[in-house]
Subunit: 167 residues, 2 copies
């Protein structure tokens, strides 16, 4: 009976190995470059930047180029249909402000980051590393979005060897 | 040597079985309900609907409630910063119009649909079924987005049994 048992155990082991690997794929291997604006830039400048870079969310940098906020297509659309002059309102006025921002670390897994996207119902997570001891002083090193997850899903389906970030 | 060889073959078979299963997950088991507007509705009505339903893309229905077009957050933002009166411009004027729309069938796989999202650089695919013989006469039955892919990715990682749409 040994080979037969071995066969089935091997299957279960491989399945759970595959799942462990899926859950361990690091954000670091897949995130995109961040697209940023300054807190004092106007809402119109932010909209132009969003179109030129063709992204859904911009990260807003404050003093010392630390993460100050996040502004989404939806925030910009809300501002655009309002009565404000888009050239005069700074993006800092309409953004979601730190510390009310969901972020990920490059060392987090794509799986955990995908769970965060769903849980907090956001389209994009800034990939950040702390600068110094203050855990709210964050440097933005990347952009993690539902497009990132879609790319990883397709790479998994293609069985691409680099998907685990090992090459 | 037999058990050992068996062990490794079992692993490869299970891996490729897992991948075949991943690539076979049907759109039907995971897509969301469509959110639609009429072609004659104003751009402002479309924007309000987008916010109320909290979606990124609206599907636009024309005569006989067939798919006429698609309008994204980006299209609406472009219209909102323009000089037009949002109450007077119908959404049919700013939408992407059939047949220039990428769609999926409920019988397509999530994998193929995810490949389409990346290839055509869109956020959303209407899930459609043909009405009658004309292949451009499409009924919209669902919405497939990068959020859908993210949900399936997380369900895979959790090893949820319903992910393949079998229950």
């Amino acid at each position: 009976a040994r080979p037969r048992v071995g066969y089935f155990y091997a299957g279960d082991e491989n399945r759970s190995l595959w799942l462990r690997r899926l859950r361990a794929i690091p954000v670091r291997a897949h995130h995109a470059p961040p697209v940023v604006v300054g807190e004092a830039d106007s809402v119109r400048e932010a909209i132009v930047r969003l179109f030129l870079e063709d992204v859904g969310t911009l990260y807003v940098l404050g003093r010392e180029r630390l993460l100050a906020g996040v502004v989404s297509r939806k925030d910009l659309l809300r501002a655009a249909i309002g009565r404000q002059n888009l050239d005069e309102v700074p993006v800092g006025v309409i953004m979601t402000r730190m510390p009310n921002i969901v972020t990920v670390s490059p060392d987090d897994s794509v799986y955990d980051a995908a769970v965060k996207l769903l849980e907090y119902q956001v389209d994009s997570l800034p990939v950040v590393v702390p600068r110094g001891e203050n855990r709210h002083a964050l440097e933005v090193v990347g952009r993690f979005t539902k497009t990132t997850v879609t790319r990883v899903f397709v790479a998994l389906g293609r069985d691409e060897p680099w998907v685990g970030g090992e090459s």
